[in-house]
């Protein structure tokens, strides 16, 4: 599958800044292309296999690059500038499936009681109440709001079960951010997000972060909580068939609980995304 314009025009996180300390043409794979990252006196540069220098930017604790000379702007997360928040970057975890599948799994609350049992859900409370899904037409991104779920241990700072309120945001085909009720402060949201580096159409590296108010846990404690949750997801993701994302409605039938997933797939289709998508006639 050739690279579609929508996929090509995005910025992609390819690692945390410390991952490239002193790098000398360190190999990085992005969108089926071999790139290299070099650190010259603290300035990071990215080159493609032909030696062409790619655009870069440093944001949200990560190095970002793009194959495009005229990329779409990287989405804003003003919360990164708020004082007192703690940022923990969890490092890149390899997953044998399309990064699009990882976004969709992240949006799905129905798996909480069964995959994240006794942490993000309990088997006695499996139902997903209906929530709102909307498109922000101006920014071209998806929001799922008023999501509510009973969680026995919503975050490392949680001291007991609570009804957690969630908002999900998809501002980029390979990024998604969760805004969840902060257990220790009123009227603010904690952020958990995925910056996915699509390696091949059916393989990706998931860079995740948490940006929270938390007075109690160490950074490493927060890191362990996040990595434990993500490894639970990873096993489920690697068992999905096909490894690419099916967009053909003949293939997988979404239900009401998947309203955000339906919106995500519709948005990908509207933007004519093709790379990483399973074709129905490949199924047999």
């Amino acid at each position: 599958m050739t690279l579609d314009t929508f996929t090509r025009s995005q910025w992609y996180a390819i690692g945390r800044l410390p991952d490239f300390d002193g790098a000398e043409a360190k190999p990085v794979r992005l969108l089926s292309q071999d790139l290299t990252v070099s650190d010259k006196a603290g300035v990071l540069s990215v080159n493609d296999a032909d030696g062409r220098s790619l655009l870069t930017q440093i944001r949200y604790g990560h190095l970002w690059t793009t194959l495009s000379d005229t990329p779409r702007p990287l989405y804003d997360m003003p919360e990164f500038d708020e004082p007192d928040r703690r940022l923990v970057t969890a490092g890149g975890v390899g997953v044998r499936c399309s990064g699009l599948r990882c976004v969709e799994n992240f949006l799905d609350m129905a798996h909480f009681p069964f995959v994240h049992t006794d942490i993000l859900g309990v088997e006695e409370h499996p139902s997903v109440e209906s929530y709102d899904v909307s498109m922000d037409a101006e920014k071209d991104e998806i929001w799922a709001t008023k999501c509510k779920f009973f969680q026995p241990m919503a975050s490392a700072a949680a001291s007991g079960g609570q009804i957690t309120e969630y908002k999900y945001r998809v501002p980029h085909p390979y990024s998604t951010i969760l805004y969840k009720t902060c257990p220790i402060r009123d009227n603010v949201w904690d952020l958990v997000g995925l910056f996915i580096q699509p390696v091949e159409e059916d393989e990706c590296i998931v860079h995740s972060f948490i940006l929270v108010f938390d007075d109690e846990n160490t950074d490493t404690g927060l890191l362990h909580f996040q990595q434990n949750i993500f490894l639970q997801d990873r096993m489920i993701l690697e068992n999905q068939v096909p490894r690419k994302l099916p967009l053909d409605p003949r293939w997988e039938l979404p239900t009401r609980a998947d309203a955000s997933s339906i919106a995500y797939r519709r948005w990908l289709k509207a933007n004519e995304l093709q790379w990483g998508v399973a074709l129905f006639n490949e199924a047999a």
Partner: protein, 208 residues
């Protein structure tokens, strides 16, 4: 008692399992193994010059190496003397033999997992092939044990040999190693996860 722990480490999981099985109260000190490589920091090298986790701190002493910690904990804190069967030399010999085998599982199956999950640069085909060779041996052994009425690696009781071998066998799927071909291993995993006070770790596929 303090365990220097990393949540995704199968070697740390061995110690967590035995601490739970023996109901030993302890604290955990979270180590940023990935992505921070804290186990290679100067501070941690003071605790373990090999730069490896887990490390157990007990009575002011540091014990390193997962298998050594298992032996220490079982010898000191298991009043039934079944996890490390000191009163039965022939069984003890078998347990020690499979502890060494567990180290080989770490250098193969765990290496493949580090490559696939955390992006470690190593020869993953070689690691997987090595793991399959060991799993064939373990599967044959467990099948033979079953034929003699034994459910566990060294005999009729679970021992530290089972704990030492369990994590990186059960987590093999994370490193692209299918357990489909090893039916006796699958049955042993099912028995293991049903032990009292067993806690699951992400990446373990329970066959049912």
């Amino acid at each position: 008692m303090k365990l220097y722990d990393y949540v995704l480490s199968g070697n740390c999981y061995k110690i967590r399992l035995l601490l739970d099985f023996l109901e030993l109260s302890h604290e955990k000190r979270a180590v940023d193994f990935f992505p921070g490589r804290e186990h290679k920091s100067d501070e941690f090298l003071q605790i373990n010059p090999l730069g490896q986790i887990p490390v157990l701190e007990d009575d002011g002493a540091y014990i390193r190496d997962a298998q050594a910690i298992l032996v220490y904990l079982a010898s000191r804190y298991d009043p039934t003397a079944t996890w490390w069967p000191v009163n039965d030399p022939s069984e003890l010999g078998r347990v020690a033999q499979w502890l060494a085998f567990a180290d080989s599982i770490t250098s193969t199956a765990s290496a493949a997992r580090l490559h696939d999950v955390l992006g470690y640069d190593l020869d993953v085909a070689q690691a997987r092939a090595g793991a399959h060779r060991l799993f064939r041996i373990l599967d044959d052994h467990l099948a033979n044990q079953e034929l003699q009425g034994f459910n566990w690696i060294a005999g009729s009781n679970p021992t530290v040999a089972d704990i030492a071998c369990f994590p990186y066998v059960a987590l093999a799927g994370d490193g692209g190693i299918e357990l489909f071909y090893y039916p006796a291993i699958q049955r042993w995993i099912r028995r293991f996860v049903n032990l009292p006070r067993f806690k699951l770790m992400p990446g373990i596929n329970i066959f049912d």
